[in-house]
Symmetry: C2
Amino acid sequence: MPESSHVDLCLIGSGSANSIPDDRFDDWSIALVEGGTFGGTCLNVGCIPTKMYVHPADLARTPEHAGPLGVDLTLDRVRWADVRDRVFGRIDPISAAGERYRAESRNIRLFRQQARFVGDARLRLDDGTEITADRFVIAAGSRVRIASADGLADTPYETSDTVMRLPELPRSMIIVGGGYVAAEFAHVFSAYGTEVTLVARGKALLRQEDAEISSRFTEAMGRRVDLRLQHTLRATRRAERGVEVDVDGPDGPATLTADVLLLATGRIPNGDRLDLDRTGVTLDDDGYVVVDEHQQTGHPGIFALGDVSSHHQLKHVANHEARVVQHNLLHPDAMIASDHRYVPHAVFSSPQVASVGLTEEQAFEQGIGYVVGQTAYASTAYGWALGETGEHVVKLLADPATGLLLGAHLIGPDASSLIQPLIQAMSFGQAAPDVARGQYWIHPAMAEVVENALLALPLDGRSAE
Amino acid sequence: MPESSHVDLCLIGSGSANSIPDDRFDDWSIALVEGGTFGGTCLNVGCIPTKMYVHPADLARTPEHAGPLGVDLTLDRVRWADVRDRVFGRIDPISAAGERYRAESRNIRLFRQQARFVGDARLRLDDGTEITADRFVIAAGSRVRIASADGLADTPYETSDTVMRLPELPRSMIIVGGGYVAAEFAHVFSAYGTEVTLVARGKALLRQEDAEISSRFTEAMGRRVDLRLQHTLRATRRAERGVEVDVDGPDGPATLTADVLLLATGRIPNGDRLDLDRTGVTLDDDGYVVVDEHQQTGHPGIFALGDVSSHHQLKHVANHEARVVQHNLLHPDAMIASDHRYVPHAVFSSPQVASVGLTEEQAFEQGIGYVVGQTAYASTAYGWALGETGEHVVKLLADPATGLLLGAHLIGPDASSLIQPLIQAMSFGQAAPDVARGQYWIHPAMAEVVENALLALPLDGRSAE
């Protein structure tokens, strides 16, 4: 007869939720349910390993950047197996150690199974074990969305879950997708020496970005890969070597061949696999768990966080939400709200992209008044050092009445770090002229491009100095 | 008989002061006096060209960084002449165009001569021309300090003014100095392939930095060059090929030989060359023009800014002071003060160093209570991508009572950009816990090392979340 147990707290998912139980929870009985790899998407197949592939890709491209600056470098080879083994030799033990730590916890019981709700605050594991809990945290994450195409079931393909563990570097690869996952892997594999064909439905890559950024990124990537925009996937099949893919594009149908097919067509939240309706938790039209500002679902005591409930699908958002849920579990009478006002993101491709706040298109559509300030890296002293030619920019939107930033969009080197003072300004309500002139910007650091973009905003009321 | 003229404003120096006359000065008669290269130190021999040499040096060192990450790169060669010609092919025309622009200005007269004061608000140029003015701006900059050594007058040597224009890359070089100029050129030349011997008086390099940073930097540089600490220069002479240099060190005297001798032993302000006592302007014990908070000297209407009056000797400080002087010239009845509270600086060597505020030693000496938070790049996700091994850190000092930052000291990749949110926090009085948790930090961007250092500060009163 299946076991049944009651705990104070049941955590579903070992990613961000795993950071919740600290010493303040030592007298709580806790169940931690994880059916997949321990540690979640970010650690195992997401942010962290991808960046460990991206940096070597940046290095592999150094020769083409260095040549015009007078430095002759030759890329001899990228040792795929060594890259891969460095990444997973580092990550897999972290996952294993995290699992071991929890398995040995006195007050935490780890269940390595999938689970579904079978009643009100009642969860059933695959082996039949039932868990009831005073509180649940649903942090079951998201999974790769698989594109549909005739014959796909019989075609070998990779996703971001698997492609980083390939036994060897493919000579050629078809990547399907136009978002950040496709953009990062197109950079990685093309830099490593794989011939990449990138198939995207849209007229541009990274279409969620400000159109200026999306356009500049698309142009840059188009110089590096065989870029097929406005192409849809029709059919796939196994070929003698690798795969064949039928696509339809503006110029009619075409058949592409490659060693490897990588599907990078987005991620979907895992809430649909939990039978959440049995416990009174609802999903929105896109399949995300609906939560209030305290990260609480419609069912009191059931919280959700991270990819399963956040359209952002970003680890830094999940971490923030985990801290909010942690607080709210400990202080049910003094809950705090999560802050989703200024959520930045970055695309670690080449060029790098980082963004926070409204795009120009969003501001326009929402009828929000704005002014634009834009500066090219090339116009700064450090840009001269880098040999910048004008492709990389910082674009800012501000409210002309208050000078407060509405959005910041960067494409170029170190975008993901350079954006931080702008996130800080938005989060703390600092007006653009004050941010520009109320602090020193080291000359000639790369950050001057941000200072100059702030000064390029056509705002009145610049501070006296 | 020498000409004599009276103007509304006389600017001495064409560096930062040259940014003062904008359209608001169109009805002022202005004299601009410059005896050296037009455009000042930063543009011609300082910040800008040096960084244009540093970036290729960073690129030249990519192979040793990339190898352990699985990317095999070979440095074939650094084309010295191409590096040099790219730099000065870019900079020299800017200097020339700047000069032409001013020479053609309707209301500005450019005097290409050295000048000295000969009386109250009365300047005499080398050709005897005398200029009197209602207002002066002394922005005559600084010059290279030449170390003293027997025989130096008869020995060929380079300084930062000349070394970037060498006809060819030297096979070997002795650099004398332990500050930022020596540190940057030691990086540049050793990366380009020159055998560098670095002779420094102190027990460490970059001794003005926090001792932790200085020590880490010294260790890193010691692996790249023949580092002679606690060595003093005794004598120099021309050798059959290049130079011979006698030094005295802890183990006694030694004679070093190299193709080129580079003296990088600091800079001194040019106020001593202006006979400022004739016009009632005083110098401090270190030779800097004494100014008040409005950048005004003891003589009303005579302002000074930049290296000639600022111990910082930093271009971003000079720029700030130029804006202050500009305002104060235009609004003599509503002068503003310059802000020297949180002046950051960076050393663009390898590793890069950036700093703002108090070092731990300064805080200790001044009896200021502080706590320390320190985080290694290696402990962050991006640090894993970079293959960091623990040498590079962010070290923060904060006031335990208020949580306000007292100092920030970074050594590692992109230090000069990563420091910006910390400068911002200090300049706007934002407490460390708020800066850490009151905004999102993109995961896994390099900036997370800053977030983590903020969180590593042992401060109570962390915000609720």
